[in-house]
Symmetry: D2
Subunit: 130 residues, 4 copies
């Protein structure tokens, strides 16, 4: 299972170096994970309304090349690890054949107090498994 | 009544022209209004918990000069108009003696459905009047 | 002449009210004007390389309705005023038949010192006229 | 050598969960590193004018606790590794006694083509060493 998200770099996402600011990539990754959750069939609003949530516990990101205004970027997201209460999603940002950045995002399933809890069967969907 | 808010421009707030991006000034204005509400004694959490809110209905902003990373900016906020359900706050952004931008922000008092409503006496504080 | 720009609201563009933060609309407007300039045939890099630039002098924006994560928004941009050194672009943000916000953006043509100058014929394109 | 940078969380930095969005922490870290470079005496403008630059090659960040609007945060930055062309800076974000997030940022010294190069003695300052 792999989700593909496409975007075009906007001018205001570039900083004084005229390239995409490094914090903006984390925004791109969030947008791509949002799409990923939808595609694997996670009902995120349902999850919230039942008192659950997900928490981003760790992000590792390697910046390989710069991206610039108007660049067309593709982000592929896929699960690479899955435990009882957490998992890891790998996300690769490319521009045509170039890797711009690659990241590993660790998420934790939590209850409304923010305490990690075992994922209930209804939200433990196949698409979260590598 | 006039509230003064100070900030230093951060590098990531500058765009490809190396100056503060025009959208960022609206973030600065929001931060300054947040301070303004606190200083005039509006209990914003209380207001929300009673089912009220405020809605920014209109912003007019004139950009006079550019600001750059590390610039020390000052934002003065003061009410210039006050009606039964709305008002206007003027906000001036300066760097030393230079005016960087000036804005007029129209706010509306609303209930939880977003409908404009008369401001209840407990939130109709003196500091909102010109 | 009218340019249409489409976007989908991303989660990180929403603030604590769960709606698009008012500063984010100015980012959307910038992205739409960038598209507008391309569509009317302004060679912006050429303009910069010849020592010219454009400066956003004033923005008036009316916020009509809130927008939320995943909303599909359309921004139409069209010139409504054109002078020798400046002009005004109107931009309307809609979600289906609802107007979310409408804005008027005044731009000024400047040389590299930031001084307003008469637009040279090669950059005085028809698409900038109402 | 350790640099301390303080900031107060602004409302627009919070997302729909009412906590600081995870991308915003990278903006905070950038602001704190900017301060760090100044405090250790790196003349960044001089470095740029001589055709050099620095490139953020990797960021690892662990999110420990959420931060909220008006929280007073402190970011401590200190070098933990130093090579001929690169180094690692550790940055810890705290709110009073709580660790909010901790990060390791790998930077690379580059020439104007973006190629890693040995740091010239004038920019190889003591403060970059652990």
């Amino acid at each position: 299972m792999k989700t593909t998200f496409k975007l075009r770099v906007r001018t205001y996402e570039c900083d004084g170096y005229n390239h995409v600011n490094n914090a903006v990539y984390l925004q791109y990754l969030e947008a791509a994970r949002h799409e990923f959750l939808k595609e694997i069939g996670i009902d995120y609003k349902g999850l919230i309304s039942k008192g659950y949530g997900t928490y981003t516990a760790r992000i590792e990101i390697d910046y390989k090349k710069s991206a610039f205004a108007d660049d067309e970027l593709t982000i592929e997201s896929r699960p690479i690890k899955k435990g009882a209460v957490s998992g890891v999603i790998e996300q690769i940002i490319t521009r045509a054949d170039d890797i711009i950045a690659s990241a590993k995002v660790t998420w934790v399933f939590v209850d409304k107090t923010g305490t990690p809890v075992k994922i209930p069967p209804e939200f433990d969907v196949e698409g979260m498994y590598p």
